[in-house]
Symmetry: C2
Subunit: 545 residues, 2 copies
Amino acid sequence: MLGLMQEFPLLVTRLLDHAARWHGDTEIVSRSVEGPIHRTSYAEIDRRSRALASAVSNRLGIGMGSIAATMAWNTWRHLEIWYGVMGLGGIVHTLNPRLFADQLVYIVNHAEDGWVFTDLSFVPLFEKLQDRLPKVKGFVVITDRQHMPAETSLRNPVCYEELIASGDPGFAWPEFDENTACGMCYTSGTTGNPKGVVYSHRSNVLHGMMCCLSDALGLSSRDTIMPVVPMFHANAWSLAFSSLISGARLVLPGPKLDGASVYELLDRERVTFTAAVPTVWMMLLKHLEQNPALRLPALERVAIGGSACPEAIMKAFVENYGTDVIHAWGMTEMSPIGSLGVKSGRTSALPDGEWWKIKLKQGRAPFLVDMKITDDDNRALPHDGRTFGRLKVKGPAVARAYFKGEGAAAFDADGWFDTGDVATIDPYGYMNITDRSKDVIKSGGEWISSIDLENVAMACPGVQEAAAIGLPHLKWDERPLLVVVRKEGATVSKQQVLTHMEGKVAKWWLPDDVAFVDDIPHTATGKISKLTLRERFKDYRFPSA
Amino acid sequence: MLGLMQEFPLLVTRLLDHAARWHGDTEIVSRSVEGPIHRTSYAEIDRRSRALASAVSNRLGIGMGSIAATMAWNTWRHLEIWYGVMGLGGIVHTLNPRLFADQLVYIVNHAEDGWVFTDLSFVPLFEKLQDRLPKVKGFVVITDRQHMPAETSLRNPVCYEELIASGDPGFAWPEFDENTACGMCYTSGTTGNPKGVVYSHRSNVLHGMMCCLSDALGLSSRDTIMPVVPMFHANAWSLAFSSLISGARLVLPGPKLDGASVYELLDRERVTFTAAVPTVWMMLLKHLEQNPALRLPALERVAIGGSACPEAIMKAFVENYGTDVIHAWGMTEMSPIGSLGVKSGRTSALPDGEWWKIKLKQGRAPFLVDMKITDDDNRALPHDGRTFGRLKVKGPAVARAYFKGEGAAAFDADGWFDTGDVATIDPYGYMNITDRSKDVIKSGGEWISSIDLENVAMACPGVQEAAAIGLPHLKWDERPLLVVVRKEGATVSKQQVLTHMEGKVAKWWLPDDVAFVDDIPHTATGKISKLTLRERFKDYRFPSA
């Protein structure tokens, strides 16, 4: 027997309807790509998104199933493109301008993007690349007539504001299946080609609601939200959706993400909630240190994710500026929020020092994220805060496949997605990532965290950088080798490093050997390339093996 | 093109999974029907709900589509029955013990309830009524063996705790369509027979999430929630779902809803959030007045709904006890939350006096409730706080039909449900109910609120009670007649009443006549019966008509 409740597909246009109807006058402030601060409202965004939808549908042939790319900063126009294209049943594929040209070409061709919406900033890039993008029908330049480049070799260049002007602001959104695709974002895998994650209307609406739960980010119409995290980074951490659900005032930082520019908006626009990767906050804190008179009285909380947040950043916000920090973890495949370091009923009762230890972890699963750690045989491991296992997740906003069926090994038969991370979960439910599963060192059936070894070794005087890798061992399967770059002029020895590490990790975790090298290889994004390192040491044999 | 996100049906068992996995040790405190305070946890509720599901499935034949009734107070066992039966794909039909016997018999027979779960308190009632309930297969008495009535004439009496003991606490929940029915609640219509509202898993999960939004009730795991509103009243205002989504500590008041008992639990269990109808709070406040030393330091907020909350109650909580009040409005047909009087970004900026005027209204629509006011021709009316129209609502937790297709006139072709209320919506989005649509007086195409006329007339010295009804008028279609009961010994005249009203309502709203009577008819629930009144005055003619 079915319930007798209304059919009400969870389409992202519902979010815009809600914001426009109940928070229509609420302001959206953007730093424009052209320079000046621009101010609009949800009611106006609603009209312009409808006008855009009608224009791209009539003039560019964008509709159900069309894939349109954007390469754009966070501005009101980028928001209109999301809602305008998604509202038609089209798919917005966000391109990351920080990618290498070859990756970009691969991604645009792989996704089979039709039209590309590009900020002025990226016109030269596409002029150079377009010959390698044969399927792209043309380029919409996200600006007004006045700022359109006088001459451009771009294929079929269209002026964004002229498109809007030709559209119908009263356009009625079509209704369709809530499982329809609406967004696409490629993961930047450390190995192999990037893979496409395809969001649905349903997943984005549910995920956006999840973020507004009081026990998650707790976003409300009383907030002024500044997503510094770009809309091309992991679904903008859902903020292009959750802000509309909450009807919050929205501040979009455009192309300027340096400390001074971010501070200027946080301060002048009285932002209460903001979110970005640690690098952004390092730049902001540096700017604040250099200008000791500056304060952040309006800023209540900062979500920090994308990579583990150093304690110094968290402490600086909390202790120097009275701003709470929410440590967030997620993945493009998770829409992207997976866990949040917010207090629960039980951790609220802990003394401050205890809470800080937990706050540094990756956080706990909000409702609609299922999470478990397992051994290699998929047996669930205990939540004791010590045992670590493969971190697997499930939920309505978690991928069940990549675009075109690639990378299928990450998804198991029961629908769990293997994050590729190794983690512990403590009795309070807070998860802590200890390693990537391909880097964890498997010694006698037990796991050793390469990251933990590195962190301890890096604190040893004379050590510039350290990397731990597992290498084959007759008796133990694998044992850790520590690869160390000495600080200039330092003479630190193997024994000194090992003595330093003793007592800081379990005895059986201590590396079997330390190899001193001149440099450690890194990936394009600055992480240690364990793959290259393992390749370099493939013929190495332990003294004891 | 469909998204590539996981299938994850929104079943209510997900809520229990979440609460048991991440808040397993969190306490559920109940005042038992047998007397003592009982303490359990989400992990234990999870095991017992599974055991119950396996037992009722094996022994009572309850499964997909079975309708099982409960007549029970808010206790941990009632919660287990909800999750156990719903988790099987069965439907829990909550019976209101305050109904007249004839209504109860009608409802049980109309719903075709199979098994009835009854608290000890209601065993005598069912012993008396069961011969009129031929389709009921038997009765599960919600207690342990020790408290089972020694002799009972109940058909097939089963002891609840014996059922649980015979079940499998590791029972695996089946998966099925999220649109499957899971709950049923009859509306107590003022006219005609009660009509059944049928909730689905999807509607309850979405509605529960909606209640946990920071901009709605903002429930979190840091809360201790006491639903004083009974689980048989309008889906328990979703609290049997939203509490589990938030993982909050839960306090269930059992059968004792008097001021002293409610205070005892609020105080001893340090409740932070509670919800009930105004009557409950009047009893509590009276108890507090009689015991001036009593305070409520833990209690942060009280949701008050079910009928309009008098200003005196709201002021008493806020000013005397420092507890915020959330004015809520809803309907059984809306799962039931329709609007909440919480501050928005814009109303946060208002001075206190301005905010209080808005706080007394019924509140604003949370995300997932669409709301509009229309004229009789379904044209949307402005949100100016003055124009009033028929209040219509839409959303995934709003009914699209009643059980067995009754009352179809309330649902229009576009899926809007006509609430039967007449309301204004102000520019901030706050809705205020001014009348029932069948009672509003339609004069020359404009509407006059009968309730406003009554409120103004009741303040006139010498007036005991007043009711305004619209009666036919040649020129204006309808004009108001004010029916008045004088206070004992009072001699107030028609002219005195009209003079009192002048300036307090628009001139054209003033009643065309005042009729003095000895009594005004009331419904069973104490409301003025306009239907009977119109019938009494059906031959009346206005002096001027």
